[in-house]
Symmetry: D2
Subunit: 321 residues, 4 copies
């Protein structure tokens, strides 16, 4: 790895970014009309279908943003990458991969088919709902509230944002609409994947999905992933490199639901999306990127956000492949 | 229909039954060694793997029994036929068939595949677990305890056995091992099939599965089904004929789990089995039959019980087909 | 069994049939507008969507018909019942049930899911396409043309109609649109179910589906099934009783595609339908019935034909259950 | 991209490679005993279960090899990457992605489930069998033999090996055991994916799977992929960069059958394996790598080959993630 001060700056790596962004945001926003805000809980349905924002941060702390970057949204599935990391730090690889597999499923993120059809009935990967529920059961803590605190502290550390909070309104709303996830959790319990009570596990799961954040927070977390777990701002290794490698592999193969293959081809960067319309992505080694655009395509990814990232990747030739 | 006193007696319809039974019981018991007692809850695992008993009753009240007919066992899935009947009496056909379908599934009785794969995601029929859970939600009652009382009263009426009870030990044991059924119930709730709380519905469901009975009780209930809802002993129409017809259709197409087609070919009588090893069957118009044999074959049916019914059906040419 | 001359006549069993039929045909024909003629091959698409006809025959040779009974149509899936019977006569039960199972599938008649998902990968029953293809491979004959002749002769014998022919135009048309059935056949070959060449087997299969017939022919074949293989007109046992019992069991559990459970509840008679709009059914012991109505419902059964049989069964209380 | 002469050499990028390889080959060979040579065709079953070889080539033409690199084997699924590239060059992205999707399936490479379950019934990606068959139908040519010639010429150009040949013995053997692939092809035809005759398409498909090659040929093709379609030896752009990017994305998400996710985590390089035991992989920008080890693990990948690549990737920190 290059020494930090030798890393290219945002403006070296993405020259004339600001002026391009202005145009691209206008163009990508047109996609919003073809998408739909998630509506399975009332709190999510309040998302602004026309919003689109993006934030960049480099290893030197330079930042650029464009569009509706004030939007506050809940992390939803984006949080799954980080609870995986925390679970790996708490338990090590071997134990974690006894509970979840490493493969994309080809099915919807909330499908239960493979839990029944494929032995030994563990979730195929930690980024589908069943897998993230299993991961939630692995977070250490002396008590339920200690676990919740550790999770929140981890996200605060990674965003450098001490104001980060669980959005209890969204949490309650999720809990009210939790029948399918609860079904999954009981199926996992029957398959021997969960050792704790379903209620406790879902309490962790819905809490980490309900953390309020902004594009800037996503970009900041992305920066640490881009630098293999080293946070160049705080100048600290926050997560072991090996675990970040695992997380980025999953972001490429499973990060964008069952449109991950298409995203690999069209954008070619590790990324994770959430149903609130957020996307966390990164340019390996240099830049963290956060996107918000609540209108979703049929696969559950921000329709304008994906479009914007395609423009960015193609213009600057960012694909890893 | 023939007047009751014109109906053939047990000994007219099945001449020399007693002496045949003696031999057949010996032969069929040999099958027990190839089967296994259900073990998913400790209470069921206590079943006697070597037991086999059968009881017959005709419209005149004549009874014959052979083998281990003292065995007390819980109704388990056999109860599903009768909660279906009670739900039909409480709600009518239209409402019931909005919640469950009419088709065999070809899958295991506890499979959830079709709930996810086939729109509109209602259980395929009322005799698989998902369907019976949906049916449990349709039982009327002013309160949860009133519902439980109505169910028990219905079974007491049909067996003419006022001592019939819920086996609370088995009930508690079922509830402890309920993860898969709970998963199913939450899936049904997510699909809009259940309107009540999962806990309340499963409370009904596991209670009716946990009613203690004997072969004699099964035979007695079978007699009323054989007479299209009319109980020739009490001389009362207990269930409308149309609903009994529906129940018997389901017993033929789905009554023996996913070995129902084979049972139709080998035995050819409407029947319903349970994992405790019971089988309720009947000779249309004349005779009710109850069987107990806790050792199960791979499909979950009493291995010796099915074998015994094959001998009986073939010897007396009983197949409906 | 009663001696033939003691069997009730058509007019005893179904009093005032002719006058009821007149009205019922008018009413059931209204359903035609909600159905669609099969269109996967041009020859079938020529079927008259507005036609509805029914024919009855009893053991004494009395016949009644109503509606468009002149319509000539191809047997399609109705033929599967009889090739099963011929295969049983040629090979015995044991060999046949090594190649096909005895269970309804809950899936569409042309689904391949269970061939991949359920070991040992044999068709679940002989009335779905995969099963009927497997059965076609079991017909004996010294040569391919001998097999075709034997099949045709069997149908001529059962209908008493020496003019029965393969419709070569439909056969050719089927062969042109055979990709899915061919896919199934190769899957079966891979699973070790077929021993002969796929081309030869499909040649038999599409030929027996392409036999031209009328309602009267169906009724005549139904009469022999109703009498357990004994043809009361020719006064000969044409098929062993045991095989007819097997066939009738399948007709109840799988005869009306994946609406067989519903048909058992609404009509309650053994039946087999075809995509040309024919339905063969019977009143056990007494009467054979043939129906034609090319407009199909979403499950592939004659929409007006099913409606007409419901009226008939309910009015005369014909359900076996 | 760096100018070619600035690219690191094999020995700069992988210092002390030769001495490490000697040890690693010995260690990885121990895995062979836990694997099995593919046996579905006799020709493949002849593979040496104990063999393991690896070959490297850099942009300057430096080569290193170790182990059993003389082994000649057929490309099998490795060829699918290159027929995809040829199809993209012949037809462009839009047409190709009308016929195949971009997503991993989570199912076995020869599964047909998703063709039936997921609309519109096109193969999920071009590297599973169904997808590669669809791709084979897109190769241009004035005649069948012209197509076969174009394919062979493409492989000769990419390997720089004018002696590359179709192995007609393997081809014939494949064709004899082709029932499942033939089933898939007819299913695709029924779904409207294939426009040509199944026989012609499978002729192309089995031919390109049957090209004889060595590790050296794989490494040479890998080198051109590593350099985004530019062959540094011949100093020519052989394939447009965009198409190579697409191919490498698929190699990461789907290249190692349904163990691709695991390979991404354990090795982290674009790769494609074949049932003959070959693996083609590459270090982006610099080095092409070919591996042969006929003993396969349960997912169909060379058991010792994967083990060797893990050691290599971990020692030199080669993961892209």
């Amino acid at each position: 790895m290059l020494p930090m001060n030798a890393l290219p700056t945002l403006h070296e790596r993405l020259p004339r970014l600001t002026e391009h962004l202005e145009q691209w945001i206008i163009e990508s926003k047109k996609q919003c009309q073809h998408g739909k805000v998630a509506s399975y809980i009332p709190e999510l349905a309040k998302g602004n279908a026309k919003a689109l924002g993006i934030h960049f941060i480099d290893a030197h702390g330079n930042e650029t943003s464009a569009g509706d970057t004030d939007t506050v949204f809940t992390l939803q599935s984006i949080s799954k990458v980080f609870t995986l990391l925390l679970a790996l730090m708490d338990n090590g690889e071997e134990l974690v991969f006894n509970k979840v597999g490493m493969e994309p499923t080809g099915d919807s993120f909330n499908s239960m088919l493979k839990l029944e059809l494929v032995q030994p009935g563990i979730p195929f990967n930690p980024l589908i709902n069943a897998g993230a529920i299993a991961i939630s059961s692995l977070i250490h803590g002396s008590s339920q509230s200690d676990k919740l605190e550790r999770v929140l502290r981890f996200f605060r550390m990674l965003t450098g944002n001490e104001n980060l909070q669980y959005n209890e309104t969204v949490f309650e709303s999720e809990l009210q609409s939790a029948d399918l996830n609860r079904s999954m959790a009981y199926f996992l319990k029957d398959n021997g994947v969960l050792e704790q009570s379903v209620d406790d596990v879902l309490d962790i799961y819905f809490h980490h999905c309900s953390i309020d954040a902004t594009c800037k927070d996503l970009a900041r977390m992305g920066l640490t992933l881009a630098n293999n777990g080293y946070d160049p701002i705080q100048q600290k290794q926050l997560i072991p490199k090996r675990y970040v490698q695992i997380a980025k592999s999953f972001m490429v193969t499973c990060g964008m639901y069952n449109a991950s293959g298409q995203f690999a081809i069209q954008v070619g960067l590790p990324a994770k999306s959430g149903v609130s319309g957020g996307i966390l992505t990164l340019i390996p080694g240099t830049i963290g990127i956060g996107v918000i655009g609540p209108a979703l395509n049929s696969k559950g990814n921000s329709i304008a956000g994906v479009n914007l990232l395609e423009k960015l990747s193609q213009h600057y030739d960012l694909s890893m492949f």
